[in-house]
Subunit: 327 residues, 4 copies
């Protein structure tokens, strides 16, 4: 068990959304000290020059220098950039790396550096002994958390999934689809049945149910709000609602962030928290599973800290009892 | 062809959302004069006391009196109320009735009063000779317009549908799910795979493809905006994208409000108009159909006026060239 | 009085927000034919490639050619660009020019081309005989409509004004303040007490009350919605509420788009219309005036068409009876 | 200094917005144990039956029983209800009461129970020795924090204030002005120049500047978002911007939640935190002060906990280092 503030953490790519959330969590984490926040373009500026909500919370500044006097390094870089960074900047192997990109989620590795897929509800024990973590994506997390108990029981069939994401999922770059005038009061879809994270999802599901070869038909929707992911999946199932509830409750009984709700859920129950709520319905022969999570927390930086907690033998919830926005 | 302003229209239930939209359209309709707007609770008050946006547009007031000196009567009442109203208030049979509720959509009738299901893209000719119209529901319209060409070709299979609706779909009564604080930035579902309008949809589809017995699996979602419906449906299909486009374009070639887009669509293209846009995609063996419409216009009052135009032999688009909100 | 469709109009800068609204209005205007829509960067593309809501409404395409076979030319260009355009592209003086930029609002002119400030509620008669119109800005219109009757009566004092604008006021360029993730649920101010259109406002007010030298203290606020402007102004006043109501009602009695409401107003009463609503309150010794307008219509393109109607002797409301979005 | 969890707290009115926030904060407060959450209508139900975001965080249930085995009692009742409650339910005088209503803000008291106005930035020392706290209102807090340094320096003049509030300020009851369909994308004002909390504001300002008799002209605006208050105030001032900055920075130097920003601020910097940010501008002879706060936290329950911390000699920030929503 770690003592107070004895884990020194570095953050690479600290100026983006994921990096900002990492800073916000770690500033209040009882066991962690932020050693540095790296950003080439913002070096020398205070963190609150970019993350203006941090004014009054910290006087730390961005740096373009890397220090190896750390226990853990968080990579909050774009897809493709994490691998490049590690190749260009050799990091001592005793420093644990937690990568938020998709670069190592499908089993990719670097010399001396194997990555464990960091979904605690899938493989907590493996994470606890990992040296490096490939942190799952936001849609991948939220979809998987709705399907893992079925996969564990070998009961997955062809899946039909709708997922709705807030605009933060698209990052901070200015795009036509994140222009306020366009997105407000609007709905659209993208990469229908062809989302890039389906591979990551399939890989996890097959870990638990190796025979699973069916489609995960996924309709991703752009939502008219900044934060949070709603997922509804359904499939044919012989389970009664009671059996399904029992299956899910048993599966998640020891997981502190994922809870089965017996009432209808709505997205804002989990926004600005690291939680995932799961709700089940049975209609005719179809089993319906709803899951909700905050894409930037349980779907990114919160889960990265949860993984760090596990890797360092801390309380799984340390620093992650976050106040919900609720409204 | 009707002359100017020679159709006198009465509106029952003019204080609700549907009634308000009816008034807004008919005030500017070149061939219609509003004879009266009936509302028991608002009798004597100017229309703009309830529909405050009408200030400066009309000095008409609500009445609790019914006049039979009209050619057409629009019923903008709650489900169940339309039938009760007609039973309690005998309307001469030469007055055409256009009912926006679900009371007559499944073939129900009253003595001397048969109702034709008013989806022009399904059966325009039948509407043109109808005495009474059962106007389709908003989800039903938007879902059907994505499936009619497939049904006509006998190619419908098991359908998987996501539909997202604005808050106006829930009407003007105050409910926990229409409280601003709750609904803003929120997502939730309701009646998943069990929506009450699935019967209406199935009935139309079977008109075109009598052999159709598959499920329409429909996930209705509450959206975080007031107006508009987004629908994505997909199914297994042997059609290539080109074949499907051809099928849809041919089907809708003569329909002035429904258009096939070859670009990605987004909901605000149709908000505050009577239009429906359709977009197709093919991924693997699945054909994907997106459709969008304004739930209060093409999904309610706009379509009711479109039906009136057809019934009275007017231009189908008369009074319905509405400026899009766009933003 | 003009006959049907005998006014041919050209639009310069048709790819922006203002140009798009111009197209939407003119497509349904009973007396106007769109001769061309000019856009250098979009030449050859259909209008609906940029203004996607126009799909199904028109097959017109953008052009980079100018034709002089028109009666009126609308300039929908950025500030500074209108003057440059007219200097670089000599337009025959018999073609009337209606400019939506701020380039000619303070009395600027070009050889042979004088501009009349196009606020019909200020100087309708002057507009009716104008050759060229400098169309007012959105904040300027909405603020002035709250103050003109006081100015006419010589009763203006030091004014305190709050104005809240939708995001469309910032145009379609991608900026940090129009990023959806930033602007959603957010509030901020800009150019407080220093907005560039105060000069334009002061100039109009002094036309009516030459002695007026007091401050117009204006706090502009970025609102969390796309369309519409809310303005609240107050000043010391000896008028009773009844006297003020009388003053305002008399002033606006003959103006078809500006109406005095005796009930509390809210912005959505006018969104997507060319109307302006005015509401008065008296608290202690202060007279409070609320005004609301759609920044893209009464605050830009709608008013430009209203001016065109006046210039060509059409009904002032021709083509401008637009359906409110309401919700 | 208190030890861990040795302060037992009761909450009255735990089913409302303020009560919910109180629970959320106290559940994670290092020094507090929630002894009971009182709600007559919800007795027996788990807290998460009402505050559904608490699912997984606590198994506590509402009770209709009062226990006196507590150190502090939070009253989260409607205006007028707090006084009635204390009169009907005698609470031992050694239990400290922190009241969130307006019942005791103007110096009202009960036998044996004097209330100190709980704005730490106004009178922290007095709070530290208080037995009972009258917690300030949300607009009152945010407006005062923009004016206190001027009042302390005796420099207040006539104030012109715009305040914009989120919908949570209106509480959880269903009203026409909190209907989603109405409020989304809308703007309106209420109680202009006549808000009920002006008395409370004036009283505080006169504590610091007894000579202050000028108006605080306050325009309250309903904002189109759930959480947060924006306030802009301005007045005539001889201070330069530098002098004003110095004045404000000195005043707030020792206050951990209120910070002076030298950059432009926006509301989301403080949403879901207990912070208040202040920004100054000087234009001509006017000094402009912007302040922002979360109406449910620094404007209600967060400040109540801040007051509790001071009353019990805890760290002022204990339990209040809340993660910002940011987006």
């Amino acid at each position: 068990m770690a003592n107070n503030k004895n884990i020194r953490a570095g953050i690479i790519g600290g100026a983006g959304y994921g990096g900002g959330e990492m800073i916000r969590i770690l500033l209040n984490h009882p066991n962690v000290e932020i050693a540095f926040v790296h950003s080439r373009s913002n070096a020398g500026n205070p963190l609150h020059a970019v993350h203006s909500d941090l004014l009054g919370d910290t006087d730390l500044a961005f740096t373009d220098q890397l220090s190896h006097d750390i226990e853990v390094l968080f990579l909050c870089l774009g897809h493709g950039e994490a691998k490049k960074f590690l190749e260009a900047n050799p990091i001592p192997l005793n420093i644990k790396v937690i990568d938020l990109s998709q670069d190592f989620r499908l089993g990719e590795s670097l010399p001396g550096r194997e990555f464990v897929y960091g979904l605690p509800e899938l493989q907590r024990e493996k994470i606890q002994t990992a040296q490096n973590i490939a942190n799952p994506g936001c849609f991948a997390t939220t979809i998987q958390l709705g399907l893992l108990p079925l996969a564990k029981a070998g009961l997955l069939g062809e899946i039909h999934t709708t997922g709705i994401t807030g605009s933060t999922g698209a990052g901070q770059s200015l795009q036509s689809t994140t222009h306020f005038t366009w997105r407000a009061n609007n709905v659209s879809t993208y990469k229908v049945l062809a989302h890039q994270h389906l591979k990551e999802i399939r890989r996890s599901l097959q870990l638990l149910q190796p025979s699973f070869t069916e489609h995960v038909n996924f309709v991703p929707v752009r939502g008219d709000y900044p934060r949070g992911i709603w997922v509804t999946s359904y499939q044919e199932s012989d389970l009664s609602l009671e059996q399904a509830l029992q299956l899910y409750k048993t599966y998640y009984a020891t997981h502190p962030f994922t809870h089965v709700s017996e009432n209808q859920i709505d997205l804002k129950q989990v926004v600005n928290t690291n939680k995932c709520l799961v709700q089940l319905e049975k209609v005719g022969t179809k089993l319906i599973v709803h899951t909700i999570a905050d894409n930037l927390l349980k779907g990114a930086s919160g889960q990265a800290v949860q993984n760090m907690n596990l890797v360092f033998g801390l309380e799984e919830t340390a620093g992650l009892k976050l106040k919900s926005i609720v409204f």
